[in-house]
Symmetry: C2
Subunit: 450 residues, 2 copies
Amino acid sequence: MKVAKFGGTSLASGEQIQKVFQIIKADPLRKFVVVSAPGKRDQDDTKVTDLLIACAEQFLKHGEGKEQFEAVISRYTEIAKYLNLTMDIIDRISMDLLEILHGDRSNPNRFMDAVKASGEDNNAKLIAHYFNSEGLEAHYVSPKEAGLIVSDEPGNAQVLPESYDRLRLLRDRTGVLVFPGFFGYSQDGQIVTFSRGGSDISGSILAAGVQAEVYENFTDVDSVFSVNPNIVENPKEIAELTYREMRELSYAGFAVFHDEALIPAFRAQIPVQIKNTNNPTATGTKIVHVRSYTNGPVVGIASDNGFCSLYVSKYLMNREIGFGRRLLQILEDDNISYEHTPSGIDDISVIFHQNQLDPETEEKIVERIYKELGADNVVVERNLTMVMIVGEGMRHNVGTTARAANALAQAGVNIEMINQGSSEVSMMFGVKGVDEKRAVQALYEEFFSN
Amino acid sequence: MKVAKFGGTSLASGEQIQKVFQIIKADPLRKFVVVSAPGKRDQDDTKVTDLLIACAEQFLKHGEGKEQFEAVISRYTEIAKYLNLTMDIIDRISMDLLEILHGDRSNPNRFMDAVKASGEDNNAKLIAHYFNSEGLEAHYVSPKEAGLIVSDEPGNAQVLPESYDRLRLLRDRTGVLVFPGFFGYSQDGQIVTFSRGGSDISGSILAAGVQAEVYENFTDVDSVFSVNPNIVENPKEIAELTYREMRELSYAGFAVFHDEALIPAFRAQIPVQIKNTNNPTATGTKIVHVRSYTNGPVVGIASDNGFCSLYVSKYLMNREIGFGRRLLQILEDDNISYEHTPSGIDDISVIFHQNQLDPETEEKIVERIYKELGADNVVVERNLTMVMIVGEGMRHNVGTTARAANALAQAGVNIEMINQGSSEVSMMFGVKGVDEKRAVQALYEEFFSN
């Protein structure tokens, strides 16, 4: 059995939903369909979720909001008409939404969660209705009835472990099951949404619960590229990558995925297949636990900029137990989250996103380091870029570092920092921001052109 | 003015002390002579300091120790005879030592310090006596009279800052001043010794106090080698290196110097010249603050083994503020001093000397990391070697990393870890212990053969 999740652009119009139907029909293993609310039809469009938020705000302020309500309903109506559905489904959606809007508004966060969740919920009802109208047995499944129980944190729900066993029972139902993404129910029956983009989370939880053989995530790109197409023209696509590789790449500019969303699937060891609703025959990219790596050591190259380095030196530093820990404590006191800490004998640098360091904080921190740690020298350098090469294949591959360092040297890029040795699947080079493009291109050339 | 410090082997016999005299006579700028106690004349010999310790222990136990006392005096006597000195100097030394031995023994640490310090103190008296007998005006200077005031920690004295101003006044005295190393006086007039090897410390303090143009440190090697001669045959000598380079090299097997000893000279920006008493015309090695680096990027290669790596991974680790700091705290709770912490996105490794990790501690630490930090995976790997290339010249030298990585790859050495980016003057490669020799040889070949 497969879980297929469709994002907002895959469900933005009747035409798109027809594609989804074809995709589901084409593979009888696609028993579970997780849906978002209708998204943007074009760049200037507004997502149904945003229409719903505007609607909820209007009701919170004025106790009514006809215009906003109709904007939402008109989206569903347009879809229903395109799909030749009978209008009773629109009546059902209208009544459901009106009931929520005129319901309890005493807790604005809870009210907002319920209104937002209706976007997915009603879309699931509409899609199940449509599938049936096309002769495919399909059932809308409410997360409440299915037992998707979450913590009671509006806008940031966390799945509770007992959900998985309940969701597993869905396997025994007949037909295609259409499941709304984005929300669950608290133990006392309240709607609670996940963080934004949370339909990915629902799909991941459902895939883990029903022990799917694959979690298909349909979006609007064919696959993940091996490097940013804005830096390298027509880069290679990645057919298969491991969770670890995906995480390393997502760190630096590969915004494929809300990576927290993958945790349930990751822990249940379910592979994730990224596919394109608009081109479903394209292979896509598969995220797996283990892969064979026969295509060279590197699977992808990522880069991210806007880093700074805080350099601290003190003669005989390495005799002082606790120096590094106390330095990190000083940063933590200002809520600075750091990335790396390369160290010499008597010096250590801490690399972090420079947007965490306004001039005032910088002054305070530098002063504390001189005073409390007795440092000899403290220097802050800004505008560093981290360039990362990622691949399970580099693990025991003598010479990968040499190839990378050579490529950078030949491109005239000075390596300010190297971080290698903890992760077996990545190697990170710190370079000056101005060298980013050249560095990425040189590494791509080295590892992907032949 | 120069401060010349002579180690134990340089003063082990009358013959050696004659060489010292020639060295002092050869350069009128050598106004300050800091001396150790007589050291070993050959491999199987016993240092006077060790004879004194045995003597003190005997007196502490039995209130007497004729045999041990005579063993000490016979060393001075042999020297005095060889140098044709009148025997009143030996009487003076004997009386001084007897007075200490029969003095207050109620505080054994203090008693031990006084007995040990007499080794340097009496040697200074003897040497001043000898210089005068050769027609060179020389004066023994007591650290008490000169004002070398230290903290009252027997065996671990720390110089007090007011000492420097007092020592400066020594500049105005006439003749060569012979100053015993290894000890100072507490504020209430008690002898307190530095940590073992502390004559280097005395010389460094004196050099800072008198604002010497150079601190000459005479030992028994011509100079510092660029690499361990047990690994590479006939390696190049280092003519000049900076304090930073010296510190980085001393970290990994370059036991030139008790590097704490250099702090006073380092802070006062006084260069240190390492020279050979047995071959004083050899250039030696000079430790400076700034040097020109025209001879390639690398000045030395060092390696040290017996490291282990503690690898910790946790999905989404890098979202957790404080993870690294809490990990280091767990190690600190067991007094483990770490060296490096390379990190990936969701993993971090801590590199430290494996002799700090017995199986029991390992089990405890690993358990805490799983339990308190919720780690997914914790792995300890032992027998790593750190190979370090050091040089101020690599600072802005595009391609040094590439050259090093290439050399290692061609020697078939896998790089387990790289630490580069904090120190501008070193680059560290973690390799498996079995690869140490090949790695060092390959790097030497790359950077020193041409």
